[in-house]
Symmetry: C2
Subunit: 109 residues, 2 copies
DNA sequence: CGCACTACTCAGTGATGCTATATACTGGTA
DNA sequence: TACCAGTATATAGCATCACTGAGTAGTGCG
């Protein structure tokens, strides 16, 4: 993917996964697979799981253990109220950044 | 500024400063001041100087020492050819990210 | 049994931005 | 003189984050 993308994902991947969870609840392996389909082929599984642990520690998600037909039980994460708020804040921060960058890209006023 | 912005700036601040340099050459103190005017009040001076050192080490900028009427001599940085290329790559990476995020924001297909 | 796929975990690494401090030069003022 | 504000650069130490690489577990197929 390149170093630029890796660094740019810092802080952004968090928002991406929160956004995915806001669409509907999901578990780690599923999220990783979806990211790979959607243009992020090199997102490491370990990265996603670590993110989900952080979400849980921050109280942004609810967790439910669901048995799987194939393999160990799934940990299904769903965004709760604080999570929604946090995601809204993410979008505000993201919008601010995109506005600043769009402005710079167009010649900086 | 908040932790979200701090993390999101990782990888992005690099592009922001490169974009500022692509408009016209500038020195560290000046760049910091401009960032503060343009909505990033909490960018630390040390952050900018470290960034400029990295640019120099990567060979993305040319440096010229210019005497100042007030204070120590300025180190004026200007984007060179590899720097321009690197900036273009940054914009491509940035565009990819914004497209993915816009898509997610609008409901994820 | 061995292999592939599903599913989660964790220690160690590298890059980045922030904090805090130090250095250096000019000019104003008590 | 002594002090301080503004200009200008540099750097050591810290926290956070994504990546690497390895390990653990369960199911089904050859």
């Amino acid at each position: 993917m390149g170093k630029q993308m890796t660094e740019m994902l810092k802080g952004t991947l968090e928002g991406i996964v929160l956004a995915i969870l806001s669409l509907r609840p999901a578990y780690g392996y599923e999220i990783t697979a979806r990211l790979r389909e959607q243009g992020f082929p090199d997102i490491a599984e370990g990265t996603v799981y670590a993110l989900l642990v952080r979400f849980e520690q921050k109280g942004l998600v609810d967790v439910e253990k669901v048995p799987s037909e194939k393999g160990p039980p799934r940990k299904v994460y769903s965004l709760n109220a604080p999570g929604e708020k946090y995601l809204e804040e993410f979008w505000r921060t993201w919008s601010f950044l995109t506005e600043r960058l769009e402005w710079l890209r167009e010649g900086g006023g």
